[in-house]
Amino acid sequence: MTCRARSLCVLLVLAAIPAACKPKSTASGDRTEILIGATLPLTGAEARTGGFFKEGYELAFDEVNQRGGLDVGGKKLKVTLKLYDDTSTQDTAASLADKLIKSDKVDFLLGTYSTALVNRQSTVAEQNKVPYVNGGGAASAIYKRGYKYLFGALSSIELLSTTLMTWIDEQQKAGKLPRPSKIALLWENASHGKEFREGVASYAGKSGGAYEIAVDESFEINAKDFSAVLGKVKAAGTDIFLVDAHLPDYITMQRQYIDAGLCHKVASYGARGAEKDAFEKLGKDNVQYVLSGTWWSPLLAATNPLAKKYVEAFKAKYGGRTPEWFQALGYEAARALFTAIEQAGAVDREAVRGKLAALKLDSLLPGGVLEFPQDKGGQVQASYVLQQNQPDGTSPIIFPKDVAAAAGVPDPRCK
């Protein structure tokens, strides 16, 4: 007993010593660089997507440093990214954001990926009054908390479901879908999925009976078995299959969907559908006619000069590989922060926060403009583009019409 208690005393004090010996602060002095912190899920459930965001961040930082750095009040300052792996877990994302701010003394923060992680991590940024720009948190619940230092480059999920329903409605009005159409609505049990559901339900409710939600079920993120919910979908005999899922769940569910012999005139997994990863893992025949609404597509390069320039730069850096929306949103979030720093003319958190709030930036996003409206909690309101996978393995933009490269159709193989 004596030894045990003594050991504890020694341990408690020892545990505190290394931490206590750290310097309290660093003098700013003549600064030569701007330190920007970020965490990404480089391991864990979202590891693949986290790696994509990292590519986007690295390209944005490289571009700035290749031109000598940011012009801040007439002085060129290099930008350095301090990046940690948050392991796709909320506690780690929050703890590392705390470390970036208080130990690494970063000037600003870029966000992590996924709604849940951004939700938790942005609270740490807000507690410490550090501008936090992210391209990975879409649920508008994140932006309804009255935070002042939070800026999101992803449009809301509710807008995604409204955009999908608008296209579906056009098909119904053209006689390509039955009226009323029966919808199977599956959503991941998270704020992301809840908002998707609310958007579809709200649209259907206002449609005057054009749509009936026959199946309305949630599922757990990263589930391995969707047979129960897919069984309900099969039994209900629906015309439209709408799911809100992240990439791993899209791939798993679509495989089980095919195995179950399901076929719908319209099938969508929300923002997922056209990813190269899905084509590789499922085969192009098994993802035909899947409809997806994304925040960005490389096909926008045909109509948006900034998107074209970005795609070319990405291909040059990453061996000819074509970027997906993940990299583009990481890149765009970083670019927005850089622009605000230059506009502020100082490495000052309050000044940069003010510039971000008033930002109006030519963008590679749909619509061509990036701004963080404060009445929307700092969340971008850019439109979505809808893509549809084709039998030849391409996924052209089909909506909105001003950027569409092909006309979308309900799946002709399904009755």
Partner: protein, 319 residues
């Protein structure tokens, strides 16, 4: 439950001195980040030591303690947001709710060993689902946001230190009381304990409720500390697993050993994440495997072995 715990005075003074040093550290040399790291460590110490009352003293390995952690957090958050109670009062509300909830798990206490563990997995997972879907209480998958109060968050250092110290003292008191001996008797042989008049049901109910209340109190403080909580995180199975793993690393069944596991978890894991971002999971796994393979009593056993060696060497030198 009779008989006063006997804690020798010298270690007690040493413990009080250590707490006093930790209490004044922020005012002296502690960096902001170290301040936060220690706050998180104290919360984890409280949780793991309280888990050890059930898992270590009674030998009932619970994989469902996240249910009490989450419940304490959400009850406290609701009391702060809607009843506008001061946070410390709301925390007590969370602790009581978690303690009562643990009492509700009474039927599982009829089970022993792996059967009890499996039952607690069920309780934990059912709780996570129920509270995730109970939107009016937990806010559903979106969770609840508490007002951000930077000053109060800073003060939580002392609240959490107080909690960790109180749970550590309670651990020693329980372990060295006749109540603790009864728990050890149940752990050794539940039938033999019953033969000498120790009611396994009663004592397990009491210790499970106390353990649940302490973990619930930590969950309530965690909610105030984070300002934003979600059911999937608060009630997550990962959290329950963490309590078990840390107790194993520190020394399950020892009075204070699990606290070592908590310190290792928060500080060493943080160091590994920063220094070896691509290897941290592997290194952490290797550390865990090494401890389980070579030292069943975890870091505590390792420490004891080291002390014995040093003493043996001294004696040999003296002879």
């Amino acid at each position: 439950m009779t008989g006063r715990p006997r804690i020798p005075p010298r270690p007690a003074w040493g413990f009080a001195a250590a707490c006093a040093v930790l209490a004044v550290l922020p005012a002296l040399v502690l960096s902001d980040y170290a301040h936060d790291q220690l706050t998180e460590s104290y919360l984890m110490i409280a949780c793991v030591l309280a888990w050890n009352w059930m898992g270590g003293f009674v030998g009932q390995i619970s994989f469902g303690h996240a249910a009490m952690f989450g419940l304490g957090g959400f009850v406290a958050a609701r009391l702060i947001l809607h009843v506008h109670l001061p946070a410390p009062v709301a925390w007590l509300g969370g602790a009581i709710a978690a303690g009562v909830f643990a009492l509700g798990a009474h039927p599982t206490l009829r089970l022993r060993g792996p059967y009890f563990s499996i039952a607690t997995i069920g309780v934990g997972e059912v709780s996570r689902h129920v509270f995730t879907y109970w939107e009016r209480f937990t806010g559903g998958a979106t969770g609840l946001s508490l007002p951000i109060d930077v000053d109060f968050r800073y003060q939580l250092y002392w609240w959490t230190l107080g909690l960790a110290a109180a749970v550590a003292v309670a651990s020693l008191a329980i372990r060295h009381s006749s109540f603790g001996l009864r728990l050890l008797a149940i752990k050794a042989d539940v039938d033999a304990a019953a033969d000498v008049g120790v009611s396994a049901t009663l004592y397990q109910d009491v210790i499970f409720a106390l353990s649940g209340a302490a973990v619930g109190l930590a969950g309530a403080m965690h909610a105030s500390y984070q300002s934003d909580i979600e059911p999937s995180d608060m009630f997550g199975f990962d959290r329950s697993i963490t309590f078990v793993l840390l107790a194993v690393i520190g020394g399950v069944g020892t009075s204070l050993g699990p606290a070592l596991g908590a310190v290792v978890f928060v500080l060493v894991r943080s160091y590994l994440l920063q220094s070896f971002p691509t290897l941290h999971l592997g290194l952490y796994g290797v550390l865990l495997i090494a401890i389980i393979l070579f030292e069943p009593l975890g870091l505590t056993g390792l420490g004891r072995r080291f002390v014995r060696r040093v003493r043996g060497a001294r004696r040999a030198g003296g002879a």
